[in-house]
Amino acid sequence: VPRRRTEPERRTIMLPGGTEYVEGVVGYRAWGVHVESGVATLRSVVMTKHSWTPGAPVVAECAWGGEARHPAPASGCDCGVFGFSLASLAYQAFPERTTLHGEVILWGTIRLHEFGYRAEYAIPAALYLPEPLVSSESRAAHQRIASLAADRYDVPLVQRPRGLVAYR
C-alpha cells in the first residue's frame, strides 16, 4: 500500500464570522487568476468556471455524478476541494506561468490520498508565486496580480510556503 510522504500538516484558524475555529489540514494548490477592472478572482484550474468567493469557505459539490449526485468528497470519486500535501507537488502538477499558488486550510470530511487531499471545506490561508514560474521580465506583472488577489482574499502574500525545501 503506498504511503503518504508526510502526515497531514495541521493549522488552527479562526473561521469567518469569528465564532468557530478549526484545526484544519494544510493543503497546497494552484489557481488561475481572472483580473477585471483591477479585481482579482481565484478560479479552479480544473473546474475553470468555479470561482472562489473572498471571505467564505468553498463548499465542495460533486460535479461528476450526474443524476447520481452525492455529498462531496465521496470515496472513489474525483469530487471535493483538492490540495496537495506538499508545495513542491502542487508546483510539479501545475507549473504553468498563469497560475498562482497558495496554502489552503481544509476541514469537514477529508479523503487522504498518497500525495494530497480531497476535502469538504476549504479556505485560502496564504498565496505565493513559485520562484521557477517568475522570470525577471514577468516579475512585476506577476507580483501585481498576486498582490491584488492577496488583498481581495485577505491573506498574506508570502515569499515561499512554510517548510518548503525545493520546488523540484
Binding site: E20, V22, G108, T109, I110, R111, L112, H113, E114, G116
Partner: protein
C-alpha cells in the same frame, strides 16, 4: 485522481466554538483588616 495518488483513509475535522471570554470585572477588594484595640500610648 492521478495527481494526488490513491485514496487511503478518511478523517473528519470539525470546527469548535470559540470559548466565550469571561467579562472583565474589577478585582475584589481585600477584606478590611479587623479593628484591633490600640495600645494606650504613654503620655
Amino acid at each position: 485522481m492521478a495527481r494526488i495518488g490513491k485514496e487511503q483513509e478518511t478523517i473528519t475535522v470539525t470546527p469548535e466554538p470559540v470559548p466565550e471570554r469571561e467579562p472583565a470585572t474589577a478585582p475584589e477588594r481585600a477584606p478590611a483588616a479587623p479593628d484591633t484595640p490600640r495600645e494606650p500610648v504613654p503620655a
